[in-house]
């Protein structure tokens, strides 16, 4: 997945009206001296013999429309001509691909339904239609293109709304065209030094907003991947803001919803999303909306809540380059420390607890945690989790193989999540606090739990029989029934023959946790869902180690953000 192809190359605003097709604004713009980079005829050598064939040589054009990632070879007038479309193309997706460049927009008529009528509120030359166009690299994926189109459409709707409310767009257009005229009227010498667009940034609010849009869109990641991740968001995950909370509040639009502000105030990387909801007085579904929002706009990422037992290791994508800005920024935050020394420490999986020196001062502990948080924000660390596989016999485990088709335990409320997902709003506008979704996020186990609910009474009845049977050396069949049906009888025998299986307590817990031993649920997930302490779980795993295989790797969900 290449971040670069999803970043825009440029943002362009064009309009068509009584003054013809105009390019109102573009960002990034090129200085006037480089505007002449458009194709020139190759300099003719006056001494070359001109052959008759040469007269017919096809005009050569440069292959690429991009130079160093920026638009090349397109004058303002050319862009205006091709991007200010005819009115017939308004109200639908507009896409134009030229060699390795793709333009995507949603041309919009200024006035609903009419063509060319002048609104009483408009000032100056009338505008018939406008188009906010994103220039992308042609290789961008379909989902990225969709997103940009969607965005262009939303911007257009917003602008048209504002135009009808207070003539905003016509006013801004007038300012922009005014600047162009002003610059054109300057004497030659002055003209060369400034591009009209840089002047526009000072005078026009719309120009500044468009520039801001462009800058924020750079390197945000593939939306398709993000959607996939959101489908597996769980209440035990936590949100990590990628910047200071106060800065983010200041940065985001002033009419932000109060719910979002509450979330910003109470969020910490140690708090699960469920607790976040409780503290911010929101339902879990609302929290998921907001978090998915922030993740989509790259203001936050999803992690597992920080706690002592978390194990972190250096991310394979972490940049180790010496003298990089990252290293100096680290030193600004943590004077006296070296980023590379810390990265060396994390080359081996390290528990957060170990990082803290027990004899150290409390503030050192805090600093350790802050270091980890900083590194997580900059995607330098990944968390490793332990996963458990039940492999009772020497052959492949039936539990694991069958699990493939039915998908795994833990996605029980995926429908709920998907519904939440589809109603996700992308504008940071008011969030409905009256969303009356009563359903709490239920236990993910679904049917497995139900079958074990009568365990208590069963075990009580069995206790007497159990001791008798074991004395006789025969294994009671009822015990076998507690284990998942997918296992073969041979596998069940193997489990029962583990010495720890003789203890009803241990066996009962083991049987209850069997569905989690398919390698898809890490220990923290099991602890959360089953309300089991880590020490208990680890002891149990140790007791049954002869039928279990464990391994450590990163959580698939959070690796989406690490491009692993």
């Amino acid at each position: 997945m290449d971040d670069q192809t999803s970043s825009p190359v440029a943002i362009i605003l064009v309009s068509s009206g009584s003054r013809g097709d105009k390019l109102l604004f573009r960002y990034p713009y090129i200085g006037p001296q480089t505007a002449e980079n458009t194709v020139k005829k190759s300099v003719q050598n006056p001494y070359a013999v001109r052959l008759a064939d040469d007269q017919q040589v096809e005009k050569k054009r440069p292959g690429s429309c991009l130079s160093k990632g920026h638009l090349f070879g397109f004058t303002d007038d050319l862009l205006a001509a091709i991007l200010a479309t005819k009115s017939e193309l308004c109200g639908q997706k507009f896409e134009l691909k030229i060699n390795d460049l793709r333009f995507i927009g949603h041309p919009t008529l200024m006035h609903y339904g009419s063509k060319g009528q002048v609104s009483p509120k408009s000032e100056g030359p009338s505008m018939i239609l406008f188009n906010i166009v994103f220039a992308l690299k042609a290789a961008a994926s379909i989902s990225v293109i969709q997103c940009y189109h969607d965005f262009s459409k939303r911007l257009a709707i917003a602008l048209r709304h504002e135009e009808h409310r207070c003539g905003y767009l016509s006013h801004e257009a007038k300012v922009m065209l005014g600047v162009v005229d002003e610059v054109a009227a300057l004497p030659e010498a002055d003209f060369d030094s400034q591009s009209p667009f840089s002047l526009m940034l000072n005078k026009s609010e719309l120009a500044r907003d468009l520039k801001h849009v462009y800058l924020s869109l750079c390197s945000n990641g593939d939306p398709e991947q993000i959607n996939k991740c959101l489908e597996v968001l769980r209440p035990y995950h936590a949100m990590l803001l990628l910047d200071d909370a106060n800065k983010l509040i200041a940065e985001l639009s002033p009419d932000m919803s109060p719910a979002l502000i509450r979330v910003f105030r109470v969020t910490t990387p140690l708090k699960s999303l469920r607790d976040l909801g409780a503290d911010a007085d929101l339902t879990l579904r609302q929290v998921f909306y907001l978090v998915s929002h922030l993740v989509y706009w790259a203001k936050a990422t999803i992690i597992y809540p920080l706690c002592e037992t978390n194990v972190y290791v250096l991310s394979p994508n972490a940049s180790l380059q010496v003298n990089a800005t990252l290293a100096s920024r680290f030193v600004e935050h943590f004077p006296g420390m070296s980023l590379h020394a810390v990265m060396e420490d994390f080359s081996l999986p390290t528990q957060l607890r170990e990082q803290g020196n027990p004899l150290g001062l409390p503030h050192q502990q805090v600093q350790q945690v802050q270091t980890v948080v900083w590194m997580l924000q900059h995607r330098l660390l990944v968390q490793l989790h332990t996963y458990v596989f039940l492999v009772p016999t020497s052959g492949p485990s039936s539990l694991l193989i069958k699990s493939r088709s039915t998908d795994t335990v833990g996605h029980g409320s995926q429908e709920e999540l998907q519904e939440a997902d589809s109603r996700r709003i992308s504008g940071l506008s008011n969030f409905s606090d009256t969303d009356s979704v009563a359903s709490e996020y239920g236990s993910p186990q679904g049917s497995f739990v139900a079958s074990y609910s009568g365990l208590e009474s069963d075990m009580a009845n069995m206790k007497a029989g159990l001791s008798v049977d074991l004395d006789e050396g025969r294994l009671p069949t009822r015990l076998k029934e507690l284990l998942p049906d997918e296992l073969s009888s041979e596998e069940k025998e193997a489990i029962l023959s583990v010495p720890a299986a003789r203890s009803p307590e241990d066996f009962k817990m083991f049987a209850r946790l069997c569905p989690y031993f398919q390698g898809c649920h890490h220990l923290e997930e099991i602890m959360y869902c089953e309300n089991v302490r880590r020490s208990t779980l680890l002891t149990l795993l140790d007791k049954f180690r002869s039928v279990l295989v464990t391994c450590q790797h990163e959580d698939r969900v959070t690796t989406v953000f690490h491009n692993l």
């Binding site: 458009t38 194709v39 007269q55 017919q56 096809e58 005009k59 050569k60 054009r61 429309c65 397109f74 004058t75 050319l78 001509a81 091709i82 005819k86 017939e88 193309l89 639908q92 997706k93 896409e95 134009l96 691909k97 030229i98 060699n99 290791v313 250096l314 394979p316 994508n317 940049s319 180790l320 380059q321 010496v322 070296s338 590379h340 020394a341 990265m343 060396e344 080359s347 081996l348 999986p349 596989f389 492999v391 016999t393 020497s394 052959g395 492949p396 485990s397 694991l400 193989i401 699990s403 493939r404 390698g519 898809c520 295989v549 464990t550 391994c551 450590q552 790797h553 959580d555 698939r556």
Partner: protein, 399 residues
Amino acid sequence: MAAPKESKIECLLFSEFHPTAGPKIMYQACLYAYVRYVLDFPENYIDKELFDAIHIYIITKPQLQGRLIMSNAFGKKIMGCPVCIDHPKYARNALIFNLCFVFDGLANSRPYEKPVRKLSRYLVSLERESGFLSNEESKQTLPRIMAQILTDLNEQGSCAVEVNQVTTIYLKTLLVINNPGEVHMYDVPIFTVQCDSFHSHQWDLTTQQILPYIDGMRHVARISVESDVAISLVKSCLQNMLYYGIIKLLPIFQYSNVYTVTSKINRLAQDRDLQNECNKYVAKPGQLGFPCFRDIFMLFCSLGPGTPVKDWCARHNPQQLKVDERRLIQFGVLHGLLRRIHKYPVLLTNEPGSQNLRLLSRWLNGQHHYDEICCRTGLSYSVLDEMIEDDPTIVVCWK
């Protein structure tokens, strides 16, 4: 290879700039229900309204001529390469035309980009050599040619259409595969298909020369030396094979390597076919009987950061479990079950302490791992390691 259904060409459109009428559609060759191919008069498939709205992308301004332009509007994608031939013999001193391919708005048009460009070049040469388009008689044959191109490309993915006695148009749709990535001198290529399943004699001579040295053990630099082929050529050939998916690249195998299991290990637990394949692949040759799944699985799961292969072997003794450890690792990396963890030395000060390090200092900026450094400097792993470990100003990061 026939074009996939969802990206068939719906129509071929020939349009030119008429000296008096301006841009107009001259000919259309359309696809009708994938069964009949109909030559229609211009008004039918692409109607006038659509053409009027987008003709500036078909008959374009001079700055856009010669470029591949694709416009998407009204549910149709129109892709063409506008041409302008300047010559006094033409009315208005120039002949401007464009032969476009029309697809459904959601179709994938990338396989047709090269054929469209090539076709436009064909037309240009035909016009320059024999006045193909300016001569009314030969121009009349264009619809037939267009229809044939349309049919053949849709059905076979290629076409060879005779235009006149001396010219045949050859076009082929291109399956677009993603760029395979760079080949480094320290990578080890390994075949992912059976050697005899592709006809090696169809490949170029250089590739044939290096084929015998691709065994999943030799790295690129070694292949270059042993096969006596320049390393840049070896890299090109391998890149080509990588593109077609017949090889994959692995890291060099050494007992000092460190690997870690990835989240894809679940696949091995769940997929019976993969298990069988693995079993056969990793079995120690010459042994009676195959290793058992649990042992193999356990071996994979026990690989992680901080555990070099030699320590892992000492702890678990794969040979005794009937497993060939090299092949196990190879299998794991090939299928994404394992990931190599590389060792990166980083020099933090600007003044390297010892003499030796002054020579190495350009490799110590955190962007080069041991494999690469060893390959480029010719030092062995142990020698390099000793030099690095001895110096207190170098930190070592693994990732």
